[in-house]
């Protein structure tokens, strides 16, 4: 049924030279210039959701077991027995829990970056994977929520952090960065979920129109009765515009506030004004790495995705990653420089501990994974257009960024102003819990990939409408019309 299969046979179109700027070549390269009839595209997306191999279910089952044990059973055990079964101690009161929280919030930044910032700036390459990225935002934030609640000593009283009227007249302490955090993360989770949902409505309507059975009910309920009238489109467009603009400052504020959890503390190494932007760029760094990993996997495993996700997209994200890596290096150096130069003796001790202490290998790998490898690989268009290469780079960046948070939290907590209490941190049940959140993230994503059209068909179609080839003399170039 799909007319795209024959194109799959061709070698990935990555390289192109001046002489090959033919029309055919451009169409092959750019999704936006390679339109298919709408009906066919719908069919392809529906197929990608429906066709599930046994391998999928094997992975799904394994992950479910990991989630059940690693996340829910371990967490229940920890709630019942106390945080003693984790590795947290004095002075590392925060351990991998907070590392994971920051990590997942970081991952979640990619979705917003791609679907909001790129939308605002009309970067056309975003179109096929905005949804894939937004799903990461929402699911990543869910894991961040799990991680932060896990770390609480008495999680069953979490509602004391929420502002609700009570007879004691006691409200949350708004002086605390954790309160801001809670409100900011809630804001971000709600708004990114809404922002995921709004552009999804037309696609859900599409899915509703071409499915039967329980899926029909499912899509019918979610599509809310969307028909595509002028009014509905107008409201949707308006809302998406507002969202695209407003969610950007929210996204920046969230990770900045997360950074203030550390930067606002009177601790050597933490009390740094660069932490806000440093964390934001770090979040984008890991987020882009995660997006590219997800795209590589989606392209490789899901049916028809080779049509939607093409080397051009890896190329574009690769460029962004290179840029962000440079930005991260800049902020890292900035932070390091001022701490090294003007820090007090405790800060110096801490820097020394980072580099040469027992976790020195982690510090070094962080720099290699976050700076050296991206720079070495991503400058090359051919390499950065190759999915498996960027997958590995993305993976290493994520490991590197996780290391970065590990160094900022438990490693830095080991050193304080009271040398009598310095102590290393050895993770305990945090490891299954952390793996549990990772598995849960993948599990949610896998489930979503079977239920939610992963490609925003109408957005792709809209883009394809706007693109055309135009001849200037002998050269054929891509021209984009501004439709909105």
């Amino acid at each position: 049924m799909t007319g795209y299969n024959k194109k799959e046979e061709k070698a990935p179109a990555g390289v192109h030279h001046h002489e090959s700027h033919g029309e055919e070549h451009l169409r092959e390269q750019h999704l936006m210039l390679d339109p298919l009839p709408r009906g066919q595209m719908n069919e392809m997306v529906m197929e990608s959701m429906h066709e599930t191999s046994w391998k999928f279910w094997v992975v799904f089952a394994i992950l479910s077991v990991i989630v059940a044990y690693g996340l829910f059973f371990s967490w229940g055990k920890m709630i019942a027995e106390g945080l003693g079964i984790a590795g947290v101690n004095r002075p590392s009161y925060w351990g991998i829990f907070l590392v994971n929280t920051v990590f997942w919030i970081g991952i979640s930044h990619a979705g917003t970056f791609i679907s909001a910032i790129l939308r605002v700036f009309r970067a056309e390459f975003r179109r096929p994977f905005t949804r894939a990225a937004e799903l990461m935002t929402t699911f990543g934030l869910v894991q961040a929520g799990f991680s932060i609640f896990m770390h609480m000593g008495r999680v069953w009283l979490f509602y004391w952090l929420l502002p609700y009227p009570n007879e004691r007249m006691l409200w949350p302490n708004l002086h605390s960065p954790l309160s801001w955090d809670l409100i900011a993360i809630t804001t971000y989770l709600l708004s990114s979920t809404m922002y995921l949902f709004l552009p999804l409505i037309p696609d859900l309507a599409m899915a509703r129109d071409r499915s039967t059975g329980w899926r029909k009910t499912f899509y019918k309920v979610l599509a809310l009765g969307f028909r595509g009238t002028e009014g509905e489109w107008a409201h949707l467009r308006n809302a998406m515009n507002i969202f695209a603009w407003a969610i950007i400052p929210v996204m920046f504020s969230v990770h900045t506030i997360v950074s203030w959890d550390f930067a606002a503390a009177t601790r050597p190494g933490w009390n740094s004004s660069i932490f806000g932007p440093y964390f934001v760029i770090g979040a984008l760094h890991s987020g882009m790495g995660a997006v590219i990993m997800v795209l590589a996997v989606v392209r490789g495993t899901m049916k028809n995705m080779k049509y939607f996700i093409r080397p051009e997209h890896f190329d574009a994200i690769g460029k962004l990653m290179l840029l962000i890596s440079m930005g991260w290096a800049y902020f890292f150096f900035n932070d390091y420089m001022v701490q090294w130069y003007g820090g007090d003796k405790w800060t110096h001790q801490l820097l020394h501990f980072h580099e040469e202490g027992p976790m020195g290998w982690m510090w070094l790998s962080m720099l290699v994974f976050n700076i050296v490898i991206p720079w070495a690989v991503l400058w090359n268009r051919k390499w950065r257009s190759t999915p498996w290469i960027v997958f590995i780079v993305g993976l290493l960046i994520n490991v590197g960024m996780w290391f970065e948070r590990y160094i900022i939290i438990p490693v830095s907590l080991s050193i304080n102003r009271m040398p009598f209490t310095w102590r290393l941190y050895h993770p305990g049940i945090e490891i299954p819990l952390g793996i549990g959140t990772l598995a849960f993230f993948i599990l949610l994503y896998m489930a979503a990939s079977r239920l939610i059209p992963l490609v925003p068909v109408w957005e792709v179609q809209e883009g394809q409408m706007a693109h055309e080839l135009k001849k200037f003399g002998r050269e054929t170039v891509v021209s984009v019309s501004e439709l909105e």
């Binding site: 009570n166 007879e167 004691r168 007249m169 006691l170």
Partner: protein, 184 residues
């Protein structure tokens, strides 16, 4: 199989069954809540109102309230001080547990009902000294037989009164609303 069950549940009889099951669960839960709010069984059906009617002051039997943190449950020697002179003690079935207890030397097992939540340090003395009457918190005992807890001693209850008592006196307000006054 499941479909059959659903089909059955959709017909009128099934709906009634569901309704009954729901009602049963609801009433069990309601009973549970009701049960938890009941005063527990006491060894003697002690009629507070009778004793109050005789003009016995609260502090006669619970003298700790004026002196220390706990009001205290009186020792049976105190009960016996009066009751061994009351003829009815020997005959009344209601008073038999007291008589048996004193004669056999086995203490009565009372269950205090007026309890503050955990984590709160409460001192009767300060409250009595501040001119609070017992009934402000414990209710009017002249209308009660077996003691029950008329108030839920939660923070709002305490705080309301503390605020009222402090009035415009800033120093007093600070002291009376300080977290460390009750929680340590």
């Amino acid at each position: 199989m499941i479909k059959k069950l659903f089909d059955w549940l959709r017909q009128p009889l099934g709906l009634i069954a569901v309704g009954i099951a729901f009602l049963a669960l609801f009433s069990l839960a309601a009973y549970g809540i009701h049960y938890t709010q009941q005063a527990p069984a006491q060894p003697v059906q002690f009629p507070h109102k009778t004793h109050v009617a005789f003009g016995i002051q609260c502090l006669y039997c619970h003298p700790g309230a004026a002196r220390g943190p706990a009001a205290g449950i009186p020792a049976e020697s105190k009960c016996w001080g009066c009751h061994n002179q009351i003829a009815k003690t020997q005959t009344s079935a209601l008073l038999a547990p007291l008589k048996d207890s004193v004669l056999s030397g086995t203490p009565l097992q009372w269950v205090p009902v007026a309890q503050v939540p955990d984590f709160v340090q409460f001192n009767h003395r300060a409250h009595i000294a501040a001119g609070q009457n017992c009934e402000n918190c414990h209710g009017d005992m002249s209308k009660v037989t077996v003691a029950e807890n008329p108030q839920i001693f939660n923070m709002g209850f305490c705080l309301n009164c503390h605020k009222k008592v402090a009035g415009d006196d800033h120093v007093k307000l600070v002291k009376l609303t300080d977290c460390g006054t009750c929680h340590y």
